[in-house]
Every structure is written in C-alpha cells, then in structure tokens.
C-alpha cells in the first residue's frame, strides 16, 4: 500500500521541498480521494476539499514530521479526522450518486476483462457504493481504512478513537452486512489461506 519512496518524499517535504510535495500529492491523492469520497457517502466536492485540506496541514506541519511514522497511515488518519468532523455529510448521505463510484475494475477476475465482465464490475462498483454509504459511519470508516489505507487495527483504532478489539468487531459487522447485501457479487471469492 505504501509507495516505495513515500518516506523519502516526506523527508524532502520536511526540508521545504515543494517539488517533493507535488510528488507526494500525486502519489497518495488518488487513493485518499476515493477513500474520502466513500467515507463522505459519495460527495466528490467535499472529498476533494478534505484531501486538499489534509495536504495543507501536512505542509504546515512539515517541520514536525517524525521519520519513523508511516506516511500512508499519517495521511489516511488526517483525512479520516477531517471527514468525520464534517457534519454536513450526515445530512447529505441520501444524496449519494452510485454512478460516481468507479467500477472497481479488474482485480476480481481476468487480467483482460471482456465487455460483459467490465459491465459487471461497473455494476458491482455502483452497488458497492450504495451499500457502503448505507453502513454506519464507524463501520464504513474502519472498513475503508483497512482496505484503502492498508492500516493495521491499532492504527485504525487510533484514527477512530477506539480500541483494536472494537475495530475487529466493526470490520466483522461491516463485512457481514455487505456480504448479505451484495450476495450475488461476493460469490466469486475463493476459500483457502490468508489474503
């Protein structure tokens, strides 16, 4: 999940390197934007604002960067806090437009999906967006921090002000609910070892 040069970029940002700041934004913003949009129930404008605000804070606090920290965890945690602090999204949740969600392409199957498979993955993307938006806020945030951000349970717990045990429970409930709501789509997984 962590770009190989994330730590190096952040170290250069800490030394006021504006070019490194651009590279940091380019490397992390795509996943942060999708994470924010999903966390905010599909609101692209709010998501863009939250992610920009997060990078503004990173730049302002660059002198306090600790090289031992994980860049991805740091960024996802800031974006999570900014998203959860936005109260307006609560009222806007029903305004989700599932078409805005990208189609979650590719990874469910073949390396070169045909038109039918691509259409199916787009439908999955739309269904997933709808069901994500309907999840309770903390369940959704925990699930997205795990899968978009690649955060460990203790890192998710810190971002959400809860315990690692509670994170496990949040993830179990979120996945169980999505599984039941997306039963037709989720049958493609295979059983076996850890993933």
């Amino acid at each position: 999940m962590e770009p190989a040069d994330g730590a190096e970029l952040m170290a250069r940002v800490a030394r006021d390197d504006e070019g490194a700041f651009d590279a940091l934004v380019a490397a992390y913003a795509p996943r942060l934007l999708r994470f924010a949009r999903r966390t905010l129930g599909g609101d692209a404008a709010e998501a863009e604002d939250a992610v920009q605000e997060a990078f503004v804070r990173v730049w302002r606090a660059r002198g306090r960067w600790q090289p031992t920290a994980c860049v991805s965890t740091y960024l996802f945690t800031i974006v999570t806090r900014l998203c959860l602090n936005r109260r307006r999204w609560l009222a806007r949740r029903p305004a989700l437009d599932p078409i805005e969600e990208d189609g979650a392409p590719g990874r469910l199957g073949d390396a070169s999906p045909g038109p039918e498979r691509l259409a199916a993955s787009r439908q999955l993307g739309a269904a997933l967006a709808t069901e994500l938006a309907a999840l309770p806020r903390n369940q959704r945030a925990a699930l997205l921090l795990r899968h978009e951000g690649g955060l460990r349970y203790d890192e998710i717990a810190a971002a959400l002000d809860t315990s690692p045990g509670a994170v496990e429970s949040l993830l179990a409930r979120a996945r169980a609910r999505l599984r039941s709501r997306l039963a037709g789509w989720m049958s493609e997984g295979n059983s076996g070892g850890r993933g």
Binding site: G125, E168, R175, S191
Partner: protein, 145 residues
Amino acid sequence: MREADHHQRIHAYLDGELDAAGLRAVEAHLAGCRACREALAAARALGEALGATAPPLAPAFVAATRARALGRGLPLAPLWWRGLPVAWRAGMAALAAVALVVGAQLGREVAADRAAAADLAAALDAPATAALLAEAPPAATGTAR
C-alpha cells in the same frame, strides 16, 4: 470459543492481525467449518473489490493543492458557497451588486455634504468671520463652531 467468536476472528485472520497461536486456532477451525470458510472467501472478495486501483488524479489537482498549501493563487470558493444551488448564488451575487451601487451613491452624497461642510468651515475661519463671531454672544459661538 463460541461460533460467533470464530466468525469474528476470521477477520483478524484475513487482516494479518493474529499471532502464531491465533493463526493455528483459526486455521484449525476453518478446516472444519464451512460457514467460516465461506465468510472468509466473501470478505476477501469484498476486500479485492474495495482495494481495486483508484481512478487517476485530475491533472489540476496537484497544482491546486500546492497553491492552497503555499497560500498562492486564488483559493477555491468556500464550501458553503459551492454547496448552494446556482439560483441562490446568482441571487446573492445580484444582491451584492445592488448593495455596491447603492453604497457608492450614498458615498458620493456623503462626500458632497462633507465638501459643503468644509466650505462652511473655511468661511468661518476667515478673519472677517472670526471677528464677527468674536462679537457674538458665547452661546451663538458654540452653535456656529
């Protein structure tokens, strides 16, 4: 361990959160529990769907973010403004324009009054006027000045 606890532990298992003993316990359970194997497979498929490649970044985003972080360039309009319907924004802009015109006109009128007041003050400061006022009773001086 209750079945519900096993169901929950498979998530920690999937997410790589278990120690060696925990791993062995879950794997032993999975070998004999079809429901948990299916739940694990579903959770893994969900993770793959969620973690698929994110869409590419809009080209302007990097520059806009840098401008905002460094305080250069025009910032985006505040969110409360961008969130308003277009008709509201147009109405508020028109109201602001009207307020500007009315304010400018009021400003011109106040300026004209001030010019007249300045002329009067200059006239009162003239030596002849001062001499005239010196002869007037104190109360009149107070109101004239």
